[in-house]
Amino acid sequence: MALVNIKINGQTTQVEEGKTVLEVLKEMGIDVPVLCYHPKLPSIGACRMCVVETRPGVLQASCTLPVSEGLEIQTDSQTVKKARKFVLSLIFSERNHYCMYCEMSSNCELQDLGYSLGMDHFELPTYMTKFPVDTTHEYILLDHNRCILCRRCIRACSEVAGHNVLGISQRGIDSMLTADLNVPLGESSCVSCGLCVQVCPTGALTDKRSAYLGTRKESELVKTICANCSVGCGIEVYKKANNIVQILGDWENPINNGVLCKLGRYEPLSDVRERITQPMIKKNGKLEPVKWEEAIDRAKEILAEGETAGYISASLPLEVLSKFKDLLGDNVGLLENTSNPVGNSGKLSDILNADKIVVIGVDLDKNFGVVGSFVKRAIFNDSELIVVDDRTNSLSKFARLLYQMKDLDKAIGNALTGNNPVIIYSQTDSSIIDSLSRISGKAKFIWLAPAPNYLGAKKVGLNGNIISKKNIYIVAPYIDKLPEGINKAILQTSYYTPAVKSADIILPSPIWLEEEGTYINLEGVEQRLTRVLTPPKDVRSNIEILSSLLGR
């Protein structure tokens, strides 16, 4: 990388060409206030907080100013200080920035700047217009009164998440953050990925479900992964008193780079399903709470008959899957059993470099939001999308071509005219597999595995069909139904369902946020799930339960 000589506050220094002045100043540890700038978003130099003086009296936004040979900058001159404070007072004078009744107080970058620049009163009168508060969205609250029009949310929504929902309508003082063609957020094409909230520097965009649970500053941060689907996004969980305050996407995780979907960001905060919190045994046709020892002893008796088939969910950590196999040997099957003879040859990042993308029979916005985000970003960069689906598909409106399932081969044929085709699919019906097998090697395949740790389950050698036995033992956080004609059923599960009532032994187990262990995502990347929450008192870890059944 070529070096250029620049002068910062009178000191000559060599820096890499291609960087912005702000990046260089940050690396040198020189404090520059920023507001519209975000390290993970493209810079637009909108707010002018980060101005530096390039010639006497000439101010330029450092976030968009590239370094160049001979550039001289002042970061701390009176002109710079005055300008920054003036910019801040202008922002405070527009709309409503009274902190005392804002839920984001002490979680707000605008407030932080007020403090650090010593703003102890307003020089300018405040602008007394009431702006709307948009409460229509299920998860996101949009308070226009708190908006400073920094456009971080817009850049996050379009250029990082790829959804292109947010924009600005009108001009100047009338500028308004707008969803689609000026519809309420809740009626817009928003897919609830929540990245706009994650980057909002003020209280304009907030998570409804995190409101009044506590600030991020007073919460404990745990970095882990989301175990809701096989993408395996990195998440940052803020927790307080064993409750989740907020979930943010982990910018540093190479799989999702900060982007999440509704399931990862909001589902854990919206979970109202009733938990099972103590072991139970069926006595006289009714489930009754018992001590763990009694439940384990009873389960051991049933297992000792040697007539038990085990089913486990591939949503559990590798260590649990492996332990279950230790317990029941070859009599173990996966609840999400399916076959995938084509195999995965692509990474999610390949979607971004594909010139043709075929999505077969899966609604990505609904079920694999982050993959949908990759596809939309690719479309933004001129990739061509081909959707093959008989049902309505939310990506159809972005597709260049739409095909019915019966015309799958035509769709694939078209894709192969590209240089870098990527094929995304989830089903494993033989008709689809046959078509895809024929073009093996000619395209990159991304198979959306049906469970978070499906590849982990395959790695420990868990497969589908097992011989049906007299009794059944199921390990899964959520079990909606039991097979017919079973004598005795042991359920190691987390939630009450109708299936729970017909079981004979209930062993309460943790949900994924209370678990830890190894997961292998759909790309084959091995990641660690870190425990976030402490499970309820009488819930034992899956490993602990299986170990006591193994007698160790």
Binding site: M100, G114, Y115, G118, D120, H121, F122
Partner: protein
């Protein structure tokens, strides 16, 4: 020893800032030992400031014609005027009513509230008349020092008073400068 006289008054506020003044606890005594005299406050027997005081302190936003009078009166009588709390400093939570016409505000407050039966908008001349807009104190008169906060921390009030008593210019930084 020459006394340093302090007078305080409140406008459209919740008296929370005055609670913060009391929250200085034994440091109030300390200030008095240093020569401070509390000349008049709404929470002492004497309410009306003397003709000349050294430091005037105002809590609350300017919301009625009476408040304007109080503010001007205090400004005329004091050498240094300190606005304390978000309402006096910025207008604060009281400015929420700027989004509604005064008539609607009074109707809602005195007649339409769910718990009100046979309500009536008070018309006594003893009660100030609402101005069209709520303002911060510095939109009416010159303010010399500001202590924002809702309420301002007792530490911040103590720091500012002590600096002023000892003849220095206070500058709020770190935890002393808060808007909530």
């Amino acid at each position: 020893m020459k006394k340093i006289t302090i007078a305080t008054d409140w406008l459209d506020g919740c008296s929370g800032c005055h609670m913060s003044i009391l929250d200085m606890d034994e440091r109030l005594v300390e200030l008095i030992k240093m020569g401070v005299e509390l000349n008049a406050t709404p929470i002492t027997d004497f309410k009306e400031p003397s003709e000349e005081v050294d430091i005037g302190i105002l809590e609350g936003a300017v919301s009625t014609d009476h408040h304007i009078e109080v503010v001007k009166n205090m400004r005329n009588k004091c050498k240094l005027l300190v606005a304390i709390g978000d309402c006096a400093v910025f207008g604060g939570i009281v400015t929420m009513r700027n989004y509604f016409p005064v008539e609607e505000l009074l109707r809602r407050g005195y007649i339409e509230t769910e718990s009100t039966v046979d309500g009536k908008i008070p018309t006594s001349p003893e009660i100030g008349k609402h101005t069209k807009l709520v303002k911060a104190v510095n939109q009416i008169v010159k303010v010399d020092f500001y202590i924002p906060g809702c309420p301002p921390r007792a530490d911040a009030i103590y720091y500012v008073l002590r600096e002023l008593v000892e003849g220095r210019k206070p500058l709020l930084v770190g935890d002393l400068l808060r808007y909530d």
